[in-house]
Symmetry: C2
Subunit: 77 residues, 2 copies
């Protein structure tokens, strides 16, 4: 099964994008949802994956999809 990680920060833009994306994404992809505002220990992992802003979806092929714009990653530190 393919995996993806959806990083967000609980902002309205994030919540809306999360709902839309989870509705769109096929059941064949397992999506882990990470709230970077609550789990700051995962900020380095997100940054290393190339996440510049939230919400963002990181795919298991290494590609990052930044979806709309809620907050910059620096604003979450």
């Amino acid at each position: 099964m393919k995996k993806a990680v959806f990083y967000h920060a609980g902002c309205p833009v994030c919540v809306s994008a999360e709902q839309e994306m989870l509705n769109l994404i096929t059941d064949k992809v397992e999506v882990e949802v990470v709230h970077l505002g609550e789990v700051k220990s995962r900020l380095p992992e997100a940054e290393n994956a190339g996440v510049k802003s939230v919400p963002a979806l990181v795919l298991d092929n290494g590609h990052v999809l930044h979806i709309n714009y809620g907050a910059g990653i620096a604003d979450l530190k």
Copy 2:
């Protein structure tokens, strides 16, 4: 069946996002792909839907997901 429209302009960011999104999106959603660089007559439709930049996915509930950033809509006119 749900419908969505993926607007793009043939840019590398657009092509990459298109591939990723089409791979992710469930078969239950029919996605129309529109190349705004080639079909400029559909620019007003995209703008009215709220598309500010490409690539972008417009859902049939009216929400717009701007995915990464290839070009501003004004650059396509």
